[in-house]
Subunit: 209 residues, 6 copies
């Protein structure tokens, strides 16, 4: 009798099983689409596709901003494809800063797990919201708004950011303005910064023109 | 003059016609994406792609649960791809039951067309909603919540389920727990069921470990 | 010990239970929003909110089109609010017809449960897809496209339509053109119909101007 | 020191840069999906992909409807793919008309930049909303509803339509009914138009059967 | 007989008519929701709700940036609520500039209707895309990315922007940094700008701290 | 001149500022909607609305499952409303377990910050994916699928879960089956569990009937 039940169950929904899309682990070798990457075949997926250890490793903060960001976006962690979320690790050494930036495609929640971080964002109405976050605090940064994080203490800080998209994007204002070939004259016109200031930061960040 | 109008109309919107995506019949030979399968070329589609006769055939209920589910999901009926809905047929012989299950990706509306069905679902707040449905009754099962259907009469029952996704998914709790290689010890820890109970159902449903 | 476990579980997730939105039964007394109606409080909801018997009653086809549509949209069946689907019943007496119409807000799957129905839709590319559906057949009508259903046999036909929205909308072309105060001259200009034809149908359908 | 900063920034987010999907310019050579076309590789994209000059050219209105529509949908302007909007240019010579039509996949906002246009739409409740628009006026046409535009003055009119989808679709009622092989008998049954009227318009618009 | 048909039709879909949400004109007196404002009752809406003349009036460019933006977002034009698009008018006098900014909630298509505009945006990968647009040209600015527009000729320029949201938002970088009470020290740390530069622009733009 | 610029900027976009919906902090006193709660007025919001310290406090694991979940969903942290994500803290004492459960409305990413956790989920195809996660590891649990977490070491474990919805929901299978008034007979029929097993767990978990 047991065998009969087994047989029955095995047949019961057999035709639908093959097509169920519980998950869609990204096949990064194919072209992206507006909804994300095409899926690898479920039969080729093991548990390792759903686990990522890269956020367990401290980023290298031996640099001038004394900070590092380690992403677990779809490019690094393909199993978040199509699931509407992703993560990143933030290491901020003493004096470290994640400069002013936006995520064009996602809202963010930041969780501080070590040290303290002074974090803030600016709304479209130009209102400023900033506060010092301590271990265990979380803070929301709504989609597309300028924000920043600074280590505000004398010990290294560690935090983890969660995003509402597998591919939140990241636009650092300094990079956008000074680290490319956007002509100095256009930067000056579009920002009202002094020409000397623009030249100085272009030189630092490797921009040309 | 008639020819002139014809000519005019033919030209009028000619450049846009080729690109209109009124529908996106799934090309199941290509990789799925988070939004569904890539589309077959519209020029290859005939009316037969939009019609499915598989729900007109009774499922085989000569089994121990005395029930059968016949899906018309995207895998069986590719023209629902991208359109946000699909269907299935439920046959319940006398004493038949569709055991506790969820659809991870869709809400359901069940329409009883023959006999009577005792159907119910359980909310996240653990509230139970169940009722005997008669011919012509419809009942909603919100997305992702556990639910079940039992034939509650002495005649066979027939019902049709509509889903809010071309690919609603289906997770039968008994299968998830007992019909695979999930170790008995893990099942016991995660469910508080007795070890003997777990072993018994694993044996019935063909699970290992 | 049992009591202890009970106590523990009861506390475990207590703070989240109250806010879980498993469903959102429409409070039709409040203003609609782009995502649907505000929700009634879950504590006021019984199983009867999730069950609707209105589709079990034949529509009155003693009229000139010999057909009737009985909707179970959000206005009639508030528990579909926010769940992305709804249903309707179609009764077509011998010779009955559901005239040319669109659903601006949803795709449709039609299930024939009695008799035969000649159904068709027209794509943006002006391609025509029509076929006679028999008992048990389902057919897809993609969102926003013109379609119609005719009883094609000598016995009454019965069908159930499922929609990919709680509020699919319904625009019958004849009503839109002839059953209101749209000036005859505008109808003529916008449709190239003869003035006499427009006048005739306006008279039949009660249009003015 | 400058070089050091440069080096630091270049490394900082290096792993995430390659995967950012700021945009998804359509690769029209691949199969469409429900969310739009697969993306061309960002490295192959220049500014020219984001600029379209086709709307700067007047459409040819030397025809009987004295009107022309020039689309900038995803097929003509691939960079709108995945971005949720597109445009079109409307030229209406004196006496010109854009006949009754719907966009199954988008709402529209029309901007008049020259002349005057009498525009209107009809709701599901068969309410008619029409008005003469002058230069600088904009008017909304909600998704899927029948609407039309007529030149209401003695000078040519020019307008630009914006749509809430890269691929709004376009179904002209006259084309759908009369410009294909939909049998006359079916048109008559589905619309209540006189057979002679149907035949006449089929002849004009090139329909068969 | 005519009366009979009329009567029949009037009854046919009567129960669904009242609930059809073809549109959802914003009731700005009620609280906004994540999907937009609650709807005004359809019975209170006339065609004037769907027409807006505010974009026909030139903005006042007698100011130092020699530019003006006139929005037709949901706050000014409530009928776009829930429809996924909106518009704005841009006036740029000779030498005028719309400074660097983002729209956190929408992609944009810009249509130039008079003069020439040098427009550009910067991607997350810091690639710069800019070009001079002439009358009739349209250009896409993907959601959330920094962009700017300059009058590049010796005559006034006029353009109309379409957005993929009824409420696209607008964050001008200069305002976000210098026109509020964000402490100078934080601006310096988050942007690497010189303190003197920050002070100067804060003074110009009215920022404090 | 500075004053003039200030004045100009202040006017420039004045009309649009008031309506920008950068965020929608939930007004929990109003009725929920399918897209989330209505928004509090932005002018009443301070930075404290965007910061939550509740996840910094260890949950009480002095109970029989030796575990606790502390949510930061919309009910506890109203600023995630409408932003598509939320978080929770998991404390697992030695031997602790989060029993088999689903989140009907969200996918989850779990981050282990202390100890080790044996976590797993089961797909619709009944495939089992489980692994021991160590400090710094993240694991994905796709929406709606059954999953569990066990402390697999001899020290307490701590983890933080991120969800792709402000209101992910939580359905614990044991609660759904045994902690309410679902009749024993129905549980037996819908699960194939032995009656004695059902009675035993109902007694433990406080279920009736």
């Amino acid at each position: 009798m047991f065998l009969t039940i087994l047989f029955t169950f095995a047949l019961l929904f057999s035709s639908s099983q093959a097509s169920v899309q519980d998950f869609c682990v990204a096949d990064l070798s194919l072209s992206d689409t507006p909804s994300g990457y095409p899926c690898k075949k479920p039969s080729t997926i093991t548990v390792d596709a759903f686990v990522f250890s890269g956020l367990g490793v401290a980023g290298n903060t031996s640099n001038l901003i004394k900070a590092a960001v380690t992403p677990a976006f779809v490019a690094q962690f393909p199993s978040v494809n199509g699931l509407g979320l992703s993560m990143a690790r933030l290491d901020l050494a003493v004096g470290g800063v994640i400069p002013l930036h936006t995520h064009p495609g996602a809202s963010e929640v930041l969780l501080v797990t070590q040290g303290s971080i002074l974090a803030g964002f600016i709304s479209s109405a130009n209102a400023v919201y900033y506060k010092t976050l301590h271990k265990g605090d979380i803070m929301v940064f709504p989609q597309g708004l300028l924000h920043f994080q600074l280590n505000s203490e004398k010990i290294p800080a560690l935090a983890f950011a969660s995003f509402s998209s597998p591919n939140p994007g990241l636009q650092i204002t300094d990079f956008a303005l000074f680290a490319n070939d956007l002509p100095i004259e256009l930067v000056v016109k579009a920002t009202f910064l002094d020409k000397a200031q623009v030249k100085k930061l272009k030189a630092i960040l490797g921009g040309t023109n």
